[in-house]
């Protein structure tokens, strides 16, 4: 009759148990068990204690911002209400593929807007193929040279009522897609700079087009860029900190729609 397992543990812990001792002398099984338990106890005593470390200053604020705010550290996997999140799209075409990040921190998301169905009946110029067709025209009219024809345009909604109106347009020139951004007045960069991005529909991926430093500016789009995938124009205010990720501080945003001619 072997020793009870709990009693073996107590022996390993140093309890005196003369009856068990007799048994152990002739039972390899129970002796082995006591040895294992003793080794465990040794490891527990040696490596188990952990010195608590004081938590660093300012860490709670970061935790609260992330847990209770809306700035996920990385592209979040979609929750139950997901309709489209295709994480690979952002990485394939993003100019800086290590930093795809949800910039929807301070911004009014455009997701609430009803998605327009892409009309197969309208002939779209190749450059803007895949963009939803705009039914009404845009309100903001960009200056335009006569030879350029817009294939897509967008009103850029100011996310801050103090900002002037802005608009964007895609033209085709010399076989290239060109994005023109125009505002009545350039917003203050607050010691940083303004940056122009193209976002995908559910704001989980983004492509940077570069800094905006005049009230009207053109950006030649990368040839591989599919505007159908990245139809949303976003202009943000960025700090001069060398961090290429979107600051979350968007000033204007609007969705490009193919124009009907």
């Amino acid at each position: 009759m072997h020793v009870e397992p709990d009693d073996l543990a107590l022996i390993a812990l140093g309890d005196d148990n003369p009856d068990a001792a007799d048994h152990l002398a002739s039972c390899p099984q129970c002796s082995h068990e006591v040895r294992e338990l003793s080794q465990t106890l040794e490891a527990v005593r040696r490596d188990g204690p952990v010195e608590p470390q004081p938590v660093p200053e300012g860490l709670w604020e970061k935790i609260a911002a992330e847990a209770f705010g809306h700035q996920p550290r990385e592209v979040s996997t979609p929750a139950a209400d997901d309709t489209a999140a295709d994480d690979t799209a952002a990485d394939d075409t993003a100019a800086d593929d290590t930093t795809a990040e949800d910039p929807a921190g301070h911004v009014v998301p455009m997701r609430g807007r009803q998605r327009r169905r892409r009309s197969p009946l309208v002939l779209l110029v190749a450059a803007a193929a895949g963009l939803a067709v705009g039914v009404a025209g845009t309100m903001y009219v960009l200056d335009r040279s006569p030879q350029d024809s817009a294939v897509a345009s967008a009103d850029l909604e100011a996310l801050d009522t103090s900002l002037p109106a802005a608009g964007a347009q895609i033209i085709e020139r010399d076989g290239q897609q060109v994005l023109i951004v125009q505002t009545d007045e350039l917003a203050d960069a607050d010691g940083g700079f303004l940056e122009v991005w193209l976002l995908n529909q559910d704001v989980t991926g983004l492509v940077t087009l570069g800094p905006l430093d005049s009230a009207r500016q053109e950006f030649v789009l990368p040839t591989a860029l599919d505007l159908g995938e990245f139809p949303i124009v976003d202009i943000s205010r960025e700090p001069l900190d060398g961090d290429p990720t979107h600051s979350g501080d968007s000033l204007w945003r609007g969705e490009l729609q193919a124009t009907q001619d």
Binding site: L37, V44, D47, G48, V50, P54, W60, K62
Partner: protein, 195 residues
């Protein structure tokens, strides 16, 4: 008061209740209560520069997955320590996947000069397993176990100090040692297979 030294089990119950209710204040209370323990484990595992990141990930993950916490499966501190273990494991795994250029293939992760673990080791497994079990059992068991394992008081001394029957003390101490032996034994097998 350092985390783990005779903690107040009444306030742990309050924190647990408000956490289960989804009260954001509870996260701050959890941070104050267990932050130093999580930070200590993170330091043991990854050193001081990455430790802060680990701590942040743990508490954010705890908040986001609060609906997966079930009080009947163990105390909140134990659940949180389990999250810490997983966060550390993921971090170390990610670090392994993007290793620095190793010119000597026999140069494996090992203890740094300061004794800080720079890879997954038995010592780290022990620390995480033990702390998780200590937290999981709640009070007064945790205090009994610490006095027995770390302070090496006799069972009678513990019983006297905590005004508990010596049989209760012995039963907790022996059962937990057996459970730890199971968990650490399993972990060791996993490590051996992974190596």
């Amino acid at each position: 008061m350092p985390a783990g030294d005779y903690p107040s089990s009444v306030s742990d119950a309050d924190i647990t209740r408000s956490f289960s209710d989804g009260d954001p204040d509870s996260l701050r209370q959890m941070y104050q209560r267990w932050g130093p323990l999580v930070s200590g484990l993170a330091h043991r595992a990854v050193g001081s520069s990455d430790a802060e990141d680990i701590v942040q990930q743990v508490f954010v993950a705890a908040w986001r997955s609060r609906e997966t916490y079930h009080p009947d499966r163990g105390a909140l501190g134990g659940w949180l320590t389990g999250i810490t273990r997983n966060t550390i494991a993921n971090h170390l795994r990610r670090r392994e996947r993007t290793p620095e250029v190793i010119t000597d293939p026999t140069d494996l992760p090992s203890h740094g000069a300061s004794g800080v673990v720079t890879g997954w080791t038995d010592a780290l497994t022990t620390a995480l397993t033990v702390q998780e079990e200590l937290e999981r059992v709640g009070e007064p068991q945790q205090t009994i176990l610490r006095l027995a394992y770390f302070h090496q008081l006799t069972h009678q001394d513990i019983a006297d100090r905590l005004e508990l029957p010596v049989g209760t003390v012995k039963s907790h101490v022996s059962r937990t040692l057996r459970r730890l032996r199971e968990q650490m034994g399993r972990a060791g097998e996993l490590d051996a297979r992974r190596a």
